[in-house]
Subunit: 447 residues, 2 copies
């Protein structure tokens, strides 16, 4: 019953099937966190209050300015639309258009209004700031894309000697003709079941309807025509809606039950510079924070954007790629937020390359622009200008060089692990720093 053979762990055996240990990791993770959860309940009791957000919104009078700010953003959309109409009619020159758009976008910032009201609460301001950032990016895209369309149209006019000028078109009741471009024969139109499949061409795209669709659609990149679905899948929409309701409450519950006590217990050690205790707090914060971030990712990029897309019959559902397999930081940033990534490539990276900017400098510029918006979204609602979010984003540049090197030199798995590490540990460092300084500036004494 014996025969000569090596043990499986010896290299001589050539055995390398350790997939069972991955299941062990999953099981251990569940068990460890079940314990932390139980410990938390035993220590603090139930802190979850599902209706807290509602009372906060209803009874806090300083929420309403944020709603007004959000509604006010339509003014900038209206202005941008009419700048484009003027440009299409040749009422103003291209350079004047650029100047006007720039002025419009520069004014489209809510921060001076938020700063004046020192007690506007953070979550509401974060929401209105985010809306303004989205409007800013969308209008930038609208202006730039229409510029490309206009240049193409002008070329076509001069080459193919098209009889009508854009001025003529637009003066003759554009809105009624919008869905039926004159260039398309009516015989062909009759055959189409779905009129949304009709391709709209410049300058027929310069309608309120078209712009409003873009403003509501889950994309930051303007196009005159988007791929559309033929109808709304009600059961799909219902599932996404249930996810939104459930995950929103889950996020709130996790923050109330798990994050707030950790943060409260971290203030004092930071104040007293207790190195190891701060590190322990940091690690304690990292797990729930990461879990909340993961749930938020699914909540926003899958549930919310897909629900919105379903309602809008918007067919391009690529809101994220497989960033969880990212072997380099660069791939992570290219994959986790596709609407923003697409915008950065189309409206920042490629234009920079086309004016002769080197590839690496263009990449760095994109990271710096992203760093600016991260800082903006943190500083304005918190009324703190510490530039840590900016610093955190710029740190992604050396980190991305490092992960690329690790993935090439060692295993791509190690690269992936470093990406996860930076996600798990990077955020809580920033959060602790901001929360501590928020406490310090808000309250003069620390309990």
């Amino acid at each position: 019953c014996h025969s000569a053979r090596p043990s499986l762990f010896s290299t001589a055996s050539g055995f390398d099937d350790y997939r069972g240990f991955l299941n062990l990791c999953v099981v251990l993770l569940v068990i460890s966190n079940a314990r932390v959860f139980l410990e938390n309940i035993l220590k603090y009791g139930i802190l979850v209050d599902p209706l807290q957000w509602l009372s906060a919104v209803l009874y806090n009078p300083y929420q309403w300015p944020n709603l007004l700010l959000v509604l006010g953003s339509s003014v900038f959309i209206f202005i941008a639309f009419h700048i484009e109409r003027f440009l299409a009619r040749n009422y103003i020159t291209a350079n004047t258009g650029v100047t006007l758009h720039t002025l419009n976008l520069l004014v489209a910032k809510p921060h001076d209004k938020i700063n004046k009201k020192l007690y506007v609460i953070t979550v509401g301001s974060l929401f209105s700031c985010s809306v303004y950032v989205v409007v800013f990016l969308k209008l930038w895209s609208y202006a730039q894309t229409n510029k490309w369309y206009r240049e193409g149209y002008t070329k076509a006019l001069s080459k193919r000697r098209i009889h009508r000028t854009s001025k003529e078109f637009l003066s003759r009741g554009l809105l009624t003709k919008l869905l039926f471009p004159v260039s398309m024969p009516s015989s062909q139109l009759k055959g189409l079941r779905d009129r949304s499949k009709v391709m709209i061409q410049y300058p027929y795209n310069l309608s309120y309807r078209n712009l409003l669709y873009f403003m509501a659609a889950p994309t930051l990149c303007y196009e005159a025509n988007y791929p559309r679905t033929s109808g709304i899948n009600k059961s799909y929409l219902m599932r996404r809606a249930l996810e939104i309701l459930f995950l929103f409450q889950l996020e709130l519950a996790l923050i109330q039950q798990w994050v707030v006590p950790v943060l409260q217990k971290a203030i004092l050690p930071i104040h007293n510079y207790e190195g190891y205790t701060i590190m322990e707090r940091l690690l304690k914060l990292s797990v729930p924070n990461h879990f909340i971030w993961l749930v938020f990712f699914y909540f926003f990029f899958h549930s919310v954007l897909n629900a919105l897309a379903e309602v809008m019959k918007f067919a391009d559902r690529e809101f994220y790629r497989d960033w969880w397999n990212a072997e380099t930081i660069v791939y992570f940033w290219q994959a986790w937020n596709i609407p923003v990534h697409k915008w950065c490539v189309r409206h920042c990276y490629k234009p920079l390359l086309s004016i002769g900017c080197p590839k690496f400098a263009a990449q760095v510029s994109v990271f710096l622009l992203s760093a600016f918006f991260h800082e903006y979204l943190v500083s304005i609602p918190l009324h703190m200008f510490k530039a840590w979010a900016f610093f955190g984003m710029t740190m992604q540049i050396p980190l991305s060089v490092f992960t690329s090197w690790v993935s090439k030199r060692f295993s791509s798995n190690y690269g992936n692990m470093i990406v996860w590490m930076s996600l798990i540990l990077g955020q809580p460092v920033a959060i602790l720093a901001y929360v501590y300084h928020y406490y310090v500036t808000s309250y003069t004494t620390i309990a």
Copy 2:
């Protein structure tokens, strides 16, 4: 820049590459446990004392009886050897041999000696009990295998009319002839470089040298000849020896620093029947306990047994199979401890089948035998007869039926996860129960 495509999480995408999340599990596990480790150090300081075991052995006079007990086991080995010699010489009948072997094995138990000295400390008793269990299993195998050999030899004698009887052989200086059986021509012997490759046949195997090799070899199943290696790989042996030294200290350190505080803080909640706190303690214990068990597995089944095998030039290194991929409890028990599993199959399961016992009943018998030895190894050193270890092992039977059903009905991965769960959670339940009752019986008041 847009095209119709579904999100990756939607089933329509057909995407299923989530391997990055496995890396996340590993990273999260490391981070969570780093935190627990840091919290432990902050709370208790350094509890590790690498030389504690040495002082415990040297200054505790009740350790020495255990050493004497271990040395005393050689008496039973000596007796078993001579029973076999008498049998081979036909001095005693086969039935007398069975009776004598049974009596010898029944006496070969240290528990009455341990029980008389109530304060013999647990670890020493556990060691001597384990040695006796190993001796017991080896001598059982020795007796049974020699019975099979003898039966085969007698058949060959009657069939092939071999001239010499075993009695003649053994009366004529067996030891000198041992390595050179008469049946093998000397011309063939000269060609062999390594005399250990010479096959020893019954009754030439009945030598001290052969028995001592078996007693020291890392196997519980006796054979007259084992596959051997041609020499000792010194660097391999050195690596195993370093592993033994390091892992032994690591195990001690983990127990002192991580397990003992958790156990001490669990006594009071158990005493007061605080359900949730007990569960929290249980989960808190499960992670270090499982880690210690994993390290112990590697320490004993890889480092110790391979080092021993290298010294003994023993070539069959299959001390474990890939139990970490076990999809059923049955496979786990078949794979994690191959020496015992081999013994059970060869000396319990197959003999039971051969006398007409049904397959399932034979499997249950093996589990019950294993349950008996588990209970024995716990009860004797702790002086407690609670039968929980026995119960725990018998519970493996319904659990194995359950995991087989899960693996077939659902995914084999779920079966694997349940196996891990039972390992991670089953042990700490038993440990908490025994430790609590050990405290209760040892100390009358609980702090």
